[in-house]
Amino acid sequence: MKKKKNKSWLLNRREFVKGSAAVSALTLLGPGCIFQPNSEEDLFVPQELRKVSDFTSNLYHSELDVTMGTSTGYSPHCVNCKGNCAWNTFEQGGRVVREEQVAGYPQIAPGIPDANPRGCNKGALHSQSLYEKDRILFPMKRVGARGEGKWEKVSWDEALLEVAEKIVEMGGKEEFDKMMIYAGTGILSPVRRSASLRLGSLLGAVRFNVASAVGDMFPGATTTYGISTVGCSSEAWYEADYVFTWGINPSVTRMPDSHYLWEGKYKGTRVVSISPDYNPTARQSSLWIPIKPGTDSFLAMSMVHVIIKEKLFDESFMREQTDLPLLVKLENGKLLRESDLMKGGGENTFYFYDIEKKKPVKVRGSIGDDEPTLDLNGVKPALEGMFTITSSHGDEIKVTTVFEMVKKETELFSPEHTRKFTGIHPNIVRGEAKKFASAKVAIIMQGYRMHKYFWGALAMRGAALMLALTGHGGRRGGLDIDNEWGIGDLSPLSAPKPARFGSGFLGEWMDGDMQKSFLSHYDDGELKKKAGLGKNELLQRIDSAINEEGFSYFGKPKLMVLFHDNKFSRNSAQKQTEKAVLDSLDLYVNINYRLDSSASLADIILPSVTNYESYEIRMDPGYGRFANLMIPPEGLKLPGDVKSEWEICMLLCKKIEEVAKRNGIDKVDDPKYMTTRDFGSMYKDFITVDGQEIKNYKEVLEWVMDKTLALGGADIKKAAETGFISLGRAAGQVSPLYPDRPFYPFEFQTQLKRPYFTNSGRQQFYVDQEFYLKMGFAVPSAREPVRPDKYPFAFYNPHTRYGIHTTWRMNKYHLRLQRSGPVVCISPLTAKGKKIQDGNRVRIFNDVGETFANAKLHPGTPTGAIWMEHAWESLQSEGRKGYNNVVAGSITPLEIIGNYAHMSFNPFWDGNQITSESSVDIERA
């Protein structure tokens, strides 16, 4: 460094600083100075240093101009994110150079904060992924072994011909159920998803239930309400008086919405965060409750215990909205049905006991009843008591109420007793149960993570029971897991013919032979003790679910065409699963914009567009209330030889038609679905939607917008004025979406008395299915975690800040804000015992496999657990052994019954891979 020149004004500095007390008392003068008034600043900085050269001004101005582009587009980011945010995209020289939130959403009411700017760190960096060197620019064909990474560039014509030949060959043999055409969660929006859905539907190919395949199902909610799209708009967090963030970390996973929580806290909302580690949401909460991993069902039941013991419950809500007054037969624990009372009586007609008339009364609103109402019609049903009822043929039947059954179960779970499982002091449970019960509006948020635990569905049922007992439903709050707006019927576009819709979790389980790691990781006796059933019983249950109870599975595919799905990085027992799936495949085609872990294993990779490069509308995520448009900037040029998924499928159909004609194949019968698969007219069928020819995404978007009532007739031109459309009232599926009030679930039920979607027509806490009765799951209950004792640490995988699943995980700008690759968080105490220091390379292992990571010593982590964020690409770990390589295959018995009314295989009733019930050990590598 050069020696400093001696400046006269510098010498006087001392006097100025000494006089600084006087400075702040100076009168504030003069026009705009962004910080201190000029008069104050002038004391320290002489006038000659208050001017900047034009050269410097112009330099930064011209840089800004470049980043603001020569043409502007709009885009949300249509991945598996509940965000859905309006962004501007700025194009310069044919490329998107930057993006910025539109931040133009209207405030819905004066007392409620607006939703701006909406859009997070990931959206802000997508432009930096578009032109990264892992972008796939040309069709590529494998020339080495699978996964070896040897590719040759091929033409679209050549690539598509090979795929078409395989499809026609299989079609000719009626092997529709061995063809998988499946779009994963990398594109979750109606326009771009429609291409693969339409192709698969025309071919009768298999696809998985996508939410189940990635483990985003909420069977605990479906059990209770009959559906799982239950939740609030995020403005409700602001309005609520009490919010639990339980197994959810919104400051990380709901970035665009979480301000409502913290602004609510300023307004008086009590935000209580429940998680094993001190996470960013816990940091901001009113109280953090540290819980031992996987013991949430005990906490819920202990809260229920207190609510009942201290009579904090709301009887009128329980009577009208829940099944708690339904009658249960003492002899076998079954609900009292009409068929018990009279010959030919209904199986889905249930009873209350009318306190005043002292006799049983039929429950209205059940699926066996003609009157779709919860209105009690003046009846006051008993919540408590034992009764004897006489059937029409004179039998005496002893009954009690569901509430009595719940009370009995609750006896087992005093906070003093549950403490040994949860680690939570009873005073905390008692204190919070009271505050929660007395709150005017209370919300329990639970995230996707909850159902990654064996007993997650019990924890969710317990939480729903806490809400129901205390009357927190409709405008008084409720369970907030996953609100989705209704977007109308798009089936002419996405499902012109019946397709093979398979269970997601069971499909992945079966295709990946995951029972192998399940069998090796769990000990039979230990599982029996903890879960109440042995390993083989669980596997038999899975068999029954598939073979007898309607969960559909079509066998291992021979052809797999994957669109934006990263199954080989995502699945448990990663290396074993990968081998099992690949071994069954004759041809594996991956359609992607970048080389991810799954694309790297493909036989053929086809390059597609990504966000910013397509037309799209994202409507359904229910935290926000706006549909956001994707409209590419006018000057945008697609890189390389990239095509839209629609164009890819359209060209593939053309090839299929050509090959079929050459081979003399036209229509092939698909008797299972009573239809034909029309190979000879595949192209025409693909492009003709509702009699209208559709050849690109802009036309698909126009079609979709036209069919969506909640858009209020807005077209692309109208939407292009702002980049978003405020959704109308019709978007709400279980409540109206009011233009000026937060959205809460089930106002149709609480206000209009419409039934819920369960067999009782009520919030259902009693499930008298045989297996549930046998296992003790009929009422909400609690069980201890099943992770094996043979390794010392619970292993779990919370959601990262830097990706939505694996999307953006390999972006270097994100990685530079982390430690460059996978890390594992361990308690400093654990580290000391294992002689591990911060930054050390460590091996995490068990009998399933191993993975490597850098140790991060994290004081917020308990000693009994270690954790790695989810969704690192397996490509980011040595030997491509990702974090999932130590996770054993596992499925919970709660999610594999399929023959009980609303709990039968359907888009709301499918299960999850259980990924947080493995145990591991750790050592320095």
Binding site: T56, E99, R118, G144, Y278, R283, I424
Partner: protein, 325 residues
């Protein structure tokens, strides 16, 4: 600017916004004009608070020092994407073995479970009233604009001496070895946060502020008594500068963080925040205790349904009202 540490999510959206606006190119790749660091922690660049920079009590510049790129800032490591696509490499790897980065201590903090604690501290240049960088430059290349008080390096003048970097106690001036001034035959110049003055001149708030999804940043003129900034800093005194003891009179202020209560040895909730007061006093000075008290009083008022101007401002009903530029 006022940044509300209670609302900060630590999400790095500001960092990403700034990165694409200014520092993803032209020799600035290693720089974070805006960074968010976890505290307690060593910060970014590493141990920046320990350089003995800024002003001493007698009004003299302290000795200061210059951080080193790989060890203190962290190399902007590259990845082998191309080799991965070509099959030459099997896994994604950085081109160096990094030992530090802009957010290395993320979420770590201090304390013993379950009384662990941390905060997120977003930092830009403080555009100080008494800027050490400006005083230190032998070439008068650091300027503080008359119109708005923005402190920046005038690249027409800068000779790359790095005195500014050395003297800044917040280490918010960076050396750009690839920026050239041909006229002066200078190879390498300093650059720093410019408070997005070109955006401001178009009526746009700085990228970090407008794009902050936690809605923590209020931008305004301190001599505008209607601005959030004036009200939070001067009227209600709920926002404090970082390390005022460095003597530079920062113009970025922080609403200090409240925290969930501690647990006693039985696991019962105590009537004591988990963040030690001494830690906050080190960062924000002795008045932080009074400031936290004011926040609690105002929160209580608001929760009882009474008016609280402070809470209304911090809640920020309208995003656009956060910026008066």
């Amino acid at each position: 600017m006022v940044m509300d540490l209670n609302k900060c999510l630590g999400c790095q959206t500001c960092t990403a916004a700034c990165k694409t606006q200014w520092t993803n190119r032209s020799g600035r790749e290693y720089m974070y004009w805006n960074n968010v660091e976890t505290q307690p922690g060593r910060g970014y660049p590493k141990d920046y608070m320990d350089y003995n920079a800024g002003w001493d009590d007698n009004g003299n510049l302290k000795s200061g020092g210059i951080p080193n790129v790989p060890e203190d800032y962290g190399t902007p490591w590259e990845y082998n994407y191309e080799k991965l696509v070509q099959g030459a490499d099997k896994t994604l790897k950085p081109d160096v073995e990094p030992s530090w980065g802009a957010n290395w201590d993320e979420d770590v903090g201090d304390g013993e479970y379950p009384n662990s604690y941390h905060i997120y501290l977003p930092r830009i240049c403080n555009h100080c009233t008494n800027p050490a960088c400006l005083a230190a430059c032998p070439n008068e290349a650091i300027r503080k604009r008359e119109s708005d008080g923005v402190v920046l390096v005038d690249l027409k003048i800068c000779e790359g001496v790095m005195a500014c970097i050395s003297s800044c106690p917040y280490k918010k001036v960076y050396y750009n070895s690839s920026r050239k001034n041909d006229e002066k035959k200078i190879d390498g110049q300093s650059e720093k946060c410019i408070f997005c003055f070109p955006r401001m001149e178009k009526g746009l708030p700085p990228a970090c502020a407008k794009q902050c999804v936690g809605r923590i940043r209020h931008v305004g003129y301190m001599d505008d008594e209607d601005s959030h900034v004036y009200k939070l800093v001067k009227k209600w005194k709920v926002a404090l500068p970082l390390r005022a003891d460095f003597g530079t009179m920062p113009n970025v202020y922080y609403v200090p963080p409240l925290s969930p209560p501690k647990f006693n040895e039985h696991g019962e909730v105590m009537d004591e925040p988990r963040i030690p007061l001494s830690f906050l006093q080190k960062l924000f000075g002795s008045s932080v205790e009074r400031t936290l008290e004011t926040l609690k009083v105002e929160m209580d008022k608001k929760s009882r349904g009474e008016n609280s101007e402070v809470m209304d401002i911090l809640i920020a009903y309208k995003h656009s009202d956060m910026f008066k530029v």
